[in-house]
């Protein structure tokens, strides 16, 4: 879970006054982000780009959950988005609720599950370093701890242990922040498109054709989305 300790909000005409409403009534935007990432990862064959990160690998992997109300469809596999059942679920009105995502950027290679309605990560495992015995840090319920460890008396070498623990912490936090920055940049680009007329003019027709199994002109789509994203960056 990620939470903002403070939040600046800007009021505008027609928007819900209540913060809870502002949050709840737009949760679907996160599901649409997943849908857009899914579409683009297939159209651009797993290679996306942002201004800050350049080109990187992103594709759906592991588990894809789509739902509408009580009904859900879970598809597992190395490429769950390519499964026909996934597109059929979209045609039945379901939207992605969470998606397993494989990321390949910089020196990082990782998988995580991104939840649409909370934009929260789960199962983000930092790449192992040489000599690491421990597995990746899961984000689920922590296991119970059996017994208090015996507190070591201060001795020579404790400084090294503390340094290593600090280094491991910083590595973990920096990795989480790198992944967050990437997802955040993608969300910013998504919003640039989603909140522009280009969404209805170019993205929705592309989505409809893609879901129906028809051809989508990837170059034309890319040109249209890049115009909007580029304009927002300049703005």
């Amino acid at each position: 879970m990620k939470a903002a300790a403070t939040l600046e909000s800007s009021a505008a005409g027609g928007e819900p006054v209540n913060l809870a409403d502002r949050i709840e009534l737009r949760r679907f935007v996160g599901r649409e982000l997943l849908l857009w990432l899914w579409l683009e990862s297939e159209l651009f064959e797993g290679t996306l780009a942002t201004k800050e990160h350049g080109q990187f690998g992103l594709w759906l992997s592991g588990r894809l959950v789509l739902d509408e109300g009580q009904e859900s469809t879970i598809i597992k596999g190395s490429a769950p988005g390519m499964n026909r059942e996934a597109k059929e679920a979209l045609l039945r009105g379901k939207m992605p609720e969470r998606a397993g995502i494989h990321l390949s950027f910089g020196d990082h290679e990782c998988t995580l599950t991104l939840r649409g309605e909370t934009l929260a990560f789960a199962g983000l495992a930092a790449p192992r370093k040489k000599g690491d015995d421990a597995g990746g840090a899961g984000a689920g319920e922590p296991p119970p701890i059996d017994a208090p460890p015996v507190r070591r008396k201060s001795k020579k070498g404790d400084g090294d242990a503390t340094y290593l623990a600090d280094e491991a912490f910083y590595d973990r936090m920096h990795f989480a922040r790198d992944v967050e920055a990437l997802i955040s940049a993608l969300y910013r680009d998504f919003l640039a498109v989603r909140l522009s007329p280009s969404w209805e003019a170019h993205v929705v027709p592309a989505l409809e054709a893609w879901v129906a199994g028809g051809d989508v002109d990837a170059d034309r789509y890319r040109a249209a989305r890049d115009r909007v994203v580029g304009r927002k960056r300049l703005g």
């Binding site: 502002r22 840090a137 319920e141 922590p142 119970p144 507190r151 909140l195």
Partner: protein, 181 residues
């Protein structure tokens, strides 16, 4: 964090501990402050007495009590007191189950990262965070992320007018919206 003791009335208690070392509850400055981060372990202690064990021991205690008093039945109050006494005795023979979740507050970003998705600890941590720091946490959502990214006026207007993109091949988006209304 005040660790849970067998004599305590509470069955569960949460508090702050050192990150990565949940049994270190006396926190020094260097345990908590890492440059721009405030790092803490959110520790929860809970008594987990297995139900069948508790029931058996309570039954045994009831039989012994009745034999001692030379009676055949126990009052409701006596039953409750016996159960409480047995539970406390069992707790003295065991340690509470301890769970800890890392919490990292990036003060400059105004963001708190809580490394669990389970709702109960998230709710308890939010409550304790408010009590400790006087700040109310707002869980991340598409709205909060959009606010943090900063929308221009045109985007804000479009944001407020957003409607779900509906790809279903059956009823149209308008029909779906009308049904929802």
């Amino acid at each position: 964090m005040k660790p849970l003791e067998p004599e305590d009335e509470e069955l569960e208690r949460s508090g702050w501990a050192k990150i990565g070392e949940p049994f270190v509850v006396d926190l020094a400055y260097e345990d908590v402050f890492f440059n721009e981060y405030v790092n803490l372990g959110f520790r929860t202690d809970r008594w987990v007495v297995p139900g069948p064990v508790l029931r058996t021991r309570v039954k045994e205690a009831e039989v012994a009590y009745l034999a001692k008093k030379g009676r055949e039945r126990l009052s409701k109050k006596e039953k409750t007191e016996l159960k409480l006494m047995v539970a406390k005795k069992l707790r003295r023979q065991m340690a509470p189950a301890t769970r800890a979740v890392d919490v990292s507050w990036a003060v400059g970003e105004g963001v708190v990262r809580f490394f669990s998705h389970a709702q109960k600890p998230a709710g308890a941590m939010t409550e304790l965070f408010k009590k400790t720091f006087g700040l109310t946490l707002i869980p991340e959502s598409p709205y909060t992320a959009a606010v943090r990214l900063g929308l221009d006026k045109g985007q804000q207007k479009a944001w407020h007018a957003l409607e779900l993109t509906y790809l279903a091949s059956g009823p149209s988006r308008q029909d779906h919206a009308a049904e929802e209304e």
